[in-house]
């Protein structure tokens, strides 16, 4: 098993070598969203992205945990209503 793994790693390194050797320089890629064909909140969101990545980041990292927490609470409530013990573990085997 470990010999197979070693040979697989060597094969992968050989396969990747030309790609690494072919590498060349480049400039940072700056993306701009084309908001001309968008409307409503999509246009607003695209403009937020274009105008301030800082504000875009702030809204993203607030939205995700808040939505996650709300959805999680709702699912937990439904499971508890079904009679599932969602507060303690029965099986303690490691």
């Amino acid at each position: 098993m470990s010999n197979c793994f070693r040979w697989a790693c060597v094969a992968l390194a050989l396969r990747a070598a030309p790609a690494i050797a072919a590498e060349h320089g480049g400039q940072p890629i700056v993306l701009v969203v084309d908001s001309r064909n968008l409307s409503g909140w999509m246009a607003w969101w695209a403009n937020v992205y274009n105008e301030s990545h800082w504000y875009f980041t702030l809204l993203t990292i607030i939205t995700i945990p808040v939505l996650g927490l709300l959805m999680g609470k709702l699912t937990g409530f439904v499971l508890a209503r079904m009679g599932v013990n969602v507060k303690s573990r029965v099986l303690a085997e490691h």
Binding site: M1, Q27, L31, A43, P65, R89
Partner: protein, 354 residues
């Protein structure tokens, strides 16, 4: 059928949105069960659905903070989270994540990000699969020997690298109560730095690497490794979301659509760990890793051999979605069976209580 396709305003591509919900639900279950954010499945999954690689990584990292938060709160209720260990590891992960994310941006500028990430993934997945199955194989042979000698088999474990690492007593020495581990603080810090660096490169919360690292290098029991890792994935996932959003490679709309399924799946996955033994979790974790690696091999062959590209890409898509589907189904069945038994037990106890 046009309404099945939704325009992603930032990435500028039309995406099959039911695919996002199904991917979210499946990955949520798998992450809650195995203690990972699930980015290792989300990133190739999003790439397959049509996102460019840098956006797949950024969006995958962003969405994982939600279900990880849900799962870690549930695991905390079960006593599976060692907060002290988790917080120490957060420091190492964050320190390692940023150089990793910068490396991806550098690779993107050089036009090689897709190839490097795929090759890197493959090496990493192969290593983890080898580790998990070697562990299971060693445990099985130890169990057989123990049975032959008439000794109890419960206490045996396969790979025990953590025992050697815990003997390195560089001060300060800390005791992690929930994990039952006493070691140098530098052990979890260094393990998390390396896993954080790899997480930054591959666009994953690091759980794929950290969960086995917590078991094999730090010495955590499986359930505590799952819970503690999810706690850390929540924090590192948020940091990763901020990092990739600031670099402009996040599609929030896709992340929110996935979140709807992922949060439900995360609860089911976390509750399912109540009913499955530690080595059972490790075995299915290994199977998932192998399936993911095979799908990446298919993609790599497809990019190198054009005549078979269409077939291999379709096969890789089928495999990854099939894998998410099969594992989710397994977790869901174990969840339903466990719940049914638990409810029957509760009913029995009520009847016997005077």
């Amino acid at each position: 059928m046009d309404w099945f396709y939704l325009l992603m305003p930032i990435a500028g591509t039309y995406i099959f949105w039911p695919g996002l919900v199904v991917l979210g639900l499946g990955v949520g279950m798998i992450s809650g069960f195995f203690g990972m954010g699930g980015g290792w499945m989300v990133t190739p999954g999003l790439n397959i659905l049509g996102f460019p690689m840098a956006f797949s990584i950024g969006t995958g990292v962003t969405q994982m903070a939600g279900p990880s938060l849900v799962s870690s709160l549930r695991h905390a209720k079960f006593g599976n989270v060692d907060y002290r260990l988790g917080l120490i590891m957060v420091a190492g992960t964050v320190a390692g994540f940023e150089p990793g994310a910068r490396l991806v941006m550098w690779l993107e500028r050089h036009g090689r990000v897709d190839a490097y990430v795929q090759y890197g993934y493959l090496v990493l997945l192969s290593l983890i699969a080898w580790l998990v199955f070697t562990d299971i194989s060693r445990k099985n042979s130890k169990d057989r020997e123990a049975r032959a000698l008439g000794k109890p088999v419960e206490a045996s474990s396969g790979i025990e690298w953590h025992k050697a690492l815990q003997k390195i007593k560089i001060p300060p020495i800390v005791h992690f109560q929930k994990a039952g581990v006493r070691c140098s603080v530098w052990l979890p810090v260094s393990v998390s730095f390396v896993t954080g660096l790899l997480a930054g490169v591959f666009g994953i919360g690091g759980g794929l690497i950290r969960m086995p690292a917590l078991i094999y290098l730090v010495g955590c029991p499986t359930h505590v490794a799952v819970g503690t890792d999810l706690f850390e994935v929540t924090i590192s996932g948020l940091y990763g979301a901020a990092s990739y959003s600031y670099k402009g490679r996040t599609e929030l709309l896709a992340a929110v659509i996935m979140l709807l399924g992922a949060c439900i799946g995360a609860q089911i996955g976390a509750v399912a760990t109540k009913y499955v033994k530690g080595y059972g979790i490790r075995l299915f974790f290994g199977i998932a890793v192998i399936g993911c690696a095979v799908s990446i091999v298919m993609k790599l062959i497809a990019s190198a051999y054009a005549p078979a590209a269409a077939f291999l890409n379709a096969a890789a898509t089928t495999l990854i979605l099939g894998l998410v589907g099969a594992l989710s189904l397994y977790i869901f069945v174990r969840f339903l069976r466990g719940v049914r038994e638990e409810l029957a037990l509760q009913k029995q106890m009520l009847q016997t209580t005077p």
